[in-house]
Amino acid sequence: MFGLCVACVALAVVPLASILVEVVLNGAPALSPEFLTSGPGVIGEAGGGIGNAIQGTLILMGLSSLIGIPTGVMAGIYLAEFGDVVFVGHSFLTHVNSFLSSSLRFLNNVLTQFPSIVVGILAYTTIVVALGSFSTIAGAIALSIIMLPIVTRTTEESIKLVPGSIRDAAAALGIRKWRDSKRSAKHLEERSRHGCLACHGTDHRGDGALDSDGSGKQRVLPM
């Protein structure tokens, strides 16, 4: 039984090792300063590089982070801090709020694993068709939709790890709620950024800070 389990681990590690070895062995000789900086060459001839592609990737990453991270962090703060707020004397509002936050959390989790090609269709039919051509901004909006649920979820889980005593202490010092959250958000953004940058390539999680599949496990306390 032990052997069988070890064999399972080996079966999973073999592809990983093979991918790393093949990519490094076949890819490394092609890398050179010219290749990394020059634009694409003439089709059918030798030469050319991936300078444009790298530039495009960086612009796309920057733009989509600009849209996705603030929205995601704010949404995460709502789910963690305001989702269970009790409006004293307004039981109706309290009910609405708790229904809203639990259903938004649910939808957020659903969207975390959504097929990226469907998001692509959404961006195409709304933005590309409206603007009349393919564009970086269309790509950035699509990517920010893909990263939004991941950022939201990571933010929420991280803020929830902040001990209640710190929240109480901040309130006792008279610190306003928004500043209090803002401070923790600053730490969080650093944490979640790892996840977000990696999600461009993998539309999955980055450094294992949070499993995007319901088993969140954080290693760093944000405060």
Binding site: M1, F2, L4, C5, V6, A7, C8, V9, L11, A12, V13, P15, L16, S18, I19, E22, N26, M74, A75, Y78, L79, F82, L100, S103, L104, L107, N108, N109, V110, L111, Q113, F114, P115, S116, I117, V118, V119, G120, I121, Y124, T125, T126, V129, I145, L148, P149, T152, R176, K177, W178, S181, T202, D203, H204, G206, G208, D211, D213, G214, S215
Partner: protein, 334 residues
């Protein structure tokens, strides 16, 4: 005395009233802003539904919903249009089924190893290695599948299969390496990190009393895992499997590069050693070249709508299952 108190109160009110009202406003504004940000997710899902339904309506009007999902022909040429999604629905289901059949047992083995058997020192590094599989971009899986894995599958699996059991319809066809089996196996590798990490968490949440009870009844190590752990965490493992299924169904690039990209009736996955096509891979292959004035984009958006429905059902089911388990987990901790 009294005047001092009154003065103190006055100073306090005077110096803070402006800041206080501003702060109160900022508090409220912050809460409203964050609530709006959170509702964007719901907005995206609603917008997605509207866009997919509206975008695909021309093709449904022409062929009917049933006609579209049961049709097998695919011809975008204007005047000879025929759009049927059945081969690609089947292709998606078959490749995902292979991925689940192969990937889930391996993931469970890994999860059992990590939660029950491994020495403490190995636990961290091994689980990080497995999670590294999730960090590999899917297009890299596709490239690796095209240049490396394809030949492994062809030489070590498909050639023996074709030689010894090639007479069975499921294994008919010549081993080529770019087919349903390779796509399914690549997907199996890709779902391993998801399924194994969720199952591991679920198994770690099993209270120790379960294992102790099994041991005290004279169970061996394997029996303790089977009776105490696997039984207890069944619904969580099922949820993990469904999450893996969700990833397999929507996967695009890796599948597109290894499945062989057949079109029309030829894409019906009757044999494992046959080129086929999934919903996602067909959209990826043809969306860029589709003529906006024809029915072609509408048909591809129709495929997207079917994929959307699949993904929605799978993810909702998985969330419900995983939530249930996490609630149990929380209950056991408190």
């Amino acid at each position: 005395m009294q005047s001092l108190q009154a003065k103190e109160q006055q100073v306090r009110q005077g110096s803070n009233s402006l800041l206080d009202s501003l702060g109160g406003f900022l508090d409220a504004a912050f809460q409203v802003l964050s609530t709006y940000s959170a509702t964007i997710v719901a907005g995206v899902l609603v917008l997605m539904t509207v866009v997919l339904v509206a975008g695909s309506s021309p093709v449904f009007r022409r062929f009917g919903f049933i006609g579209f999902i049961t049709g097998v022909n695919w011809n975008p040429v204007i005047g000879k249009e025929a759009f049927g999604a059945l081969p690609y629905i089947l292709g998606t289901l078959v490749t995902s089924a292979i991925a689940i059949t192969i990937g889930v047992p391996i993931s469970l083995g890994i999860a059992i190893f990590l939660s029950e058997m491994s020495p403490w020192a190995v636990r961290g590094p091994v689980s990080q290695l497995i999670e590294l599989l999730a960090a590999v971009p899917s297009v890299i899986y596709g490239l690796w599948g095209l240049f490396v894995f394809r030949f492994w599958v062809r030489d070590w699996i498909e050639t023996p299969l074709s030689t010894y059991v090639g007479s069975l319809p499921v294994f008919s066809g010549s081993p080529f390496g770019l087919d349903v089996l390779t796509a399914g196996l690549i997907l199996a590798i890709m779902i391993i990190p998801t399924v194994s990490s969720v199952s591991r968490e679920v198994m770690l949440a099993v209270p120790n009393s379960q294992r102790e009870a099994a041991y005290s009844l004279g169970a061996t190590r394997w029996e303790a895992v089977r009776i105490g752990v696997l039984n207890y965490s069944r619904s969580g493992i099922f949820g993990a499997t469904i999450l893996g299924l969700g990833r397999a169904v929507g996967e695009t690039m890796a599948v597109t590069m290894v499945i062989g990209n057949a079109i029309g009736p030829a894409a019906i996955p009757t044999s494992l050693l046959k080129a086929s096509q999934t919903l996602a891979s067909l959209i990826a292959n043809e969306f860029n070249e589709a003529d906006p004035t024809s029915l072609h984009p509408a048909a591809l958006i129709g495929l997207g709508l079917i994929l959307f429905i699949f993904a929605l059902l799978i993810n909702v089911l998985a969330q419900l299952l995983v939530w249930k388990v996490l609630k149990v987990k929380r209950g056991s901790v408190e």
